[in-house]
């Protein structure tokens, strides 16, 4: 059942067994998974069914570090940022879960195997099941192209799959509308979590609407699922009993904000013979109703040997050089010269047929892992939003290991392209010790309520329960201790399913 909070009388007091704050992919997944469990669920959502500018403005904030689009990187409406997401899906790699002695603060409390069954279910929710993330034989058979075997051992291939993309707000609207024990409260902004006097349990939520109503919702259990930036903000805003904010006894809330630094235009690969670069590497293939594209990532052994962070590279053909056309830029002139000079050493095809292109340029984009850094963080600003709440202040920082890893991977990839005979790479890495101003994020907000068995090192435990608080849980990528180089939504939906299992069993 859907209820608009603006239709409720000011001062209304509601009750529920389980309050889920935020109806994005995480919140909706938990509500659906617990539907039919016999418990009363209230999904509390700030926005309406579609994005509205006044609600969206609540997502604004202040940047102290690398400039970041706080509003444009999330959507505050029923369905959350899935209104705008691109649908890129890939699980984290097994090494991403490990404590790596060269990555400070790394290590999940459990490994890939624990999440594997939830990944399978998450793929169904994101409409990409059964997924074929590592099944090269499948993509080879499906495309009819022979896929190259890795040559150097430094680079591996994975297959990104694309959700339609699932828009949670529309795809799962009907099922929530019909669910017996689920109420979805729209236009309901949670302003604080209220806790018992000893601060060991949450008693309910303080809610406001933009038209001035104040409501309260008493809940036996609360799940915070407001996204990786808003989860820490709400904990920090909830300072009625705990002056530093809920779950923040050890000053961990908001710290270790991580993105996937995205870069492009750092490398161009000239390819003489496209037959050596199968289609699935350069475009999305539609097979059996699913879309997929190959991506390159460093092998686990290379990461270990060189003590680097993870990365994902994908590319597409940008330019095709006609045989006799003049080059229009100095770089194109270089690329044409290189193809003329070394083309025969790249392709075994022999002389090109009359009029065939001289070659092609394969452009790469990269999404990198960022190491957790306690100084890369979310705090509260002194400015306030339309509800009178302190806005968030993001100080996103990137470090030396992040940058060094990226540069090493680009070189390794360039060597792999040479070893496979695919092409020759022109690199523009700039200053390899600092990030270019063009670095941006991928709208992935991770790490700000990180998971760790030790309350001094994390905000939630392995069950996603906030340390020291019996009935408060967190869902979403804010619990990731490290973020790997895979887009986060598949993993956060898998974690949401795991949390739902835990809550179901806890009854």
């Amino acid at each position: 059942m859907f209820i608009d909070a603006r239709d409720l009388p000011d001062g209304s007091r509601l009750e529920t067994d389980l309050a889920i704050v935020g109806a994005g992919p995480a919140g909706i997944t938990i509500a659906r998974a617990l539907q039919g469990s016999g418990r009363d669920i209230c999904l509390v959502e700030s926005g309406g069914l579609t994005p509205e500018s006044d609600t969206q403005a609540l997502a604004d904030g202040e940047c102290a570090g690398i400039d970041y689009p706080l509003q444009a990187s999330r959507v505050r409406a029923f369905g959350g940022s899935s209104h705008h997401w691109g649908g890129f899906c890939r699980p984290l790699d097994p090494i991403d879960f490990e404590a790596r002695d060269w990555v400070p603060h790394s290590g999940w409390p459990f490994g890939f195997a624990t999440l594997a069954p939830y990944y399978a279910r998450a793929c169904e929710i994101l409409e990409i099941a059964p997924a074929r993330f590592t099944d090269a034989a499948y993509w080879q058979a499906a495309s009819g192209d022979t896929l190259p075997e890795p040559a150097s051992g430094r680079v591996a291939t994975t297959f990104v799959q694309f959700s339609p993309p699932t828009r949670f707000g529309t795809r799962y609207h009907a099922v929530l509308a019909e669910a017996m024990y689920i109420r979805v409260l729209l236009h309901a902004n949670v302003c604080a979590l209220e806790s018992t006097a000893d601060g060991r349990a949450v008693s309910g939520l303080a809610i406001r609407t933009l038209d001035g109503r104040r409501l309260s919702l008493a809940a036996r259990t609360v799940v915070l699922a407001t996204g990786g930036l808003e989860n820490p903000r709400l904990l920090l805003l909830s300072d009625g009993v705990a002056p530093n904010g809920l779950g923040n006894d050890h000053d961990r809330v908001g710290r270790c904000f991580m993105e996937h630094p995205h870069l492009s235009h750092f490398a161009e690969i000239v390819v003489a013979d496209l037959a050596l670069l199968p289609r699935v590497y350069r475009e999305q293939l539609q097979v059996d109703g699913r879309r997929g594209q190959a991506a390159f990532h460093p092998s686990a052994s290379f990461l270990r040997q060189r003590r680097l962070l993870n990365a994902t590279f994908m590319g597409g053909i940008g330019t095709t050089f006609a045989p006799d056309a003049p080059a229009d830029t100095p770089l194109a002139e270089e690329q044409r010269a290189l193809l003329r000079a070394l083309g025969p050493l790249m392709s075994a095809r022999g002389p090109a047929r009359e009029g065939a292109p001289l070659g092609h340029v394969f452009n790469l984009g990269c999404a990198c892992e960022q190491a957790p850094d306690p100084d890369s963080r979310v705090t509260l600003s002194t400015t306030r939003d339309a509800l009178g709440l302190r806005r968030l202040r993001l100080d996103w920082r990137l470090g030396e290991l992040d940058r060094r890893s990226f540069a090493a991977h680009v070189r390794a990839l360039a060597q792999e392209f040479g070893a496979l005979g695919i092409g020759r790479t022109w690199l523009d890495l700039g200053d390899e010790h600092s990030w270019p101003i063009t670095v941006s994020g991928g709208n992935h907000h991770m790490g700000t309520t990180r998971m760790h068995a030790d309350p001094h090192q994390g905000v939630v435990d392995a069950d996603c329960r906030v340390h020291g608080i019996d009935n408060l849980y967190i869902a979403g990528s804010s619990v990731f201790p490290t973020g790997g180089a895979a887009n986060p939504t598949l993993t956060l939906v898998a974690l949401a399913l795991r949390l739902a299992d835990h809550l179901g069993a806890r009854r």
Binding site: G418, G421, D428
Partner: protein, 131 residues
């Protein structure tokens, strides 16, 4: 993946040793020039020279045509000895270059990441043109 993949270019070192044993003449001679022409006939030497001059600017000690010829000839011989039998000179060079990349035996030429062997082939093209 084997550990071998990260080991230095053993084959290249053997190749250089072979070239040294072959008694490389100190200056270009007629035989080397002819051999160079043979090595370059598969590629566009004029285009390659552009990259070769850059390599020579970085590796001034290598600006000796006979040594480059000997190096490349040894590389081809070695590929033929250790790889597929009876392969053409071009195929052997192609294989050698792939191995360079696999072994991370590469050079950086104004942004281009090239295999050492192909960079030397370009250098040969540059020297031949200069000659």
């Amino acid at each position: 993946m084997t550990r071998d993949a990260f080991q230095p270019a053993r084959r290249r070192l053997i190749g250089l040793a072979l070239a040294a044993l072959a008694g490389v003449p100190a200056r270009a001679d007629v035989g080397a020039t002819a051999q160079a022409a043979g090595l370059l006939d598969a590629i566009d030497a004029e285009a390659a020279a552009r990259f070769g001059f850059r390599y020579l600017a970085q590796h001034t000690g290598e600006a000796r045509l006979p040594e480059l010829v000997a190096y490349l000839a040894a590389a081809i011989r070695e590929e033929r000895a250790t790889g597929t039998k009876g392969i053409s000179r071009l195929t052997a060079l192609r294989e050698r270059i792939r191995h360079d990349y696999r072994d991370a035996d590469c050079v950086d030429l104004d942004g281009w990441l090239l295999s050492r062997t192909e960079a030397r082939l370009c250098a040969l093209a540059a020297l031949s043109r200069a000659a």
